[in-house]
């Protein structure tokens, strides 16, 4: 399953969304990004890898350092943030269904 290429899968994760928001203001090194999170460094690296693979982030070599920056074009594709909105409704409706099924079975 090639889920990493799926942009929406990528942004469905709260940490990855936080990374995108962080990098949106300025290009940063992996270390600088990781210092903003309390998660283990390899976990942040994994998130960066996923975001890069689905082209939401771009890597740029600056001397010896690699800076990550947001790929504006790709971000535009998901700029409407439809997927989190859809998931919010999906969760809400699942709840509705569960509540009414429970009521139905009690009748």
């Amino acid at each position: 399953m090639n889920f990493r290429r799926d942009v929406f899968q990528a942004i469905s994760d709260p940490t990855r969304r936080a990374i995108l928001l962080l990098v949106a203001t300025q290009a940063m090194t992996a270390g600088a990004i990781a210092s903003n999170f309390d998660t283990a460094r390899p976990t942040v690296s994994k998130h960066l890898q996923i975001l890069t693979e689905c082209e939401l982030l771009k890597k740029e070599q600056n001397g010896r350092e690699i800076h990550y920056q947001v790929n504006a074009n790709k971000m535009k594709e998901v700029a409407d943030f439809i997927e989190p909105f859809r998931q919010m409704w999906d969760n809400r409706f699942n709840k509705l269904e569960a509540v009414m099924k429970n009521y139905q079975s009690k009748k």
Partner: protein, 154 residues
């Protein structure tokens, strides 16, 4: 995989359409929207008022630790049992503004039904604010979790 909940939001438009199929008879789906007891349960909010009738109005409010964290209200323009609700909806203290909602309830089989909600916002920008909200909420959740983690470490 076919998704049960779909969102259609055309670029540059000020409305969007949400569709969802339910494993519920249409009567129960309609009840979930028109009876306080059920609205309170699935929306996880306190229902201060809900008059499910033409010219009726409603008011929802959610508190957390004594603070109001969610508050919404609106008026009902049309309420046809098991078929349609037309209402306005406004979340207070949010930049989304008043929205007009057309809810269509449809019977598919005896045990399944479909809900189609068309929401019209004041402008394209207002719709954008709405779409951004769960995204921002996800971010807050991430921060909250981080906070909890930090507290545990202390």
């Amino acid at each position: 995989m076919e998704q049960k909940t779909n969102i259609a939001a055309e670029e540059g438009k000020q409305d969007l359409t949400i569709t969802r199929t339910f494993d519920l008879p249409v009567e129960l789906l309609f009840k979930a929207y028109t009876e306080s007891e059920f609205v309170a349960q699935w929306m996880g909010t306190k229902v201060l008022k809900l008059e499910s009738q033409k010219h009726g109005s409603y008011q929802f409010e959610t508190s957390h630790n004594g603070n109001v964290v969610f508050s919404a209200e609106g008026t009902i323009h049309e309420c046809v049992p098991n078929q349609q609700i037309i209402r306005t909806f406004e979340m207070l203290n949010m930049p989304i503004g008043v929205q007009l909602e057309f809810l269509n309830f449809e019977k598919l089989t005896e045990e399944t039904s479909k809900l189609t909600i068309q929401i019209i916002y004041k402008s394209v920008e207002h719709r954008q604010e709405q779409l951004k909200m769960p995204f921002a909420y996800g971010l807050n959740m991430a921060h909250d979790r981080l906070q909890e983690f930090l507290i545990k470490l202390k």
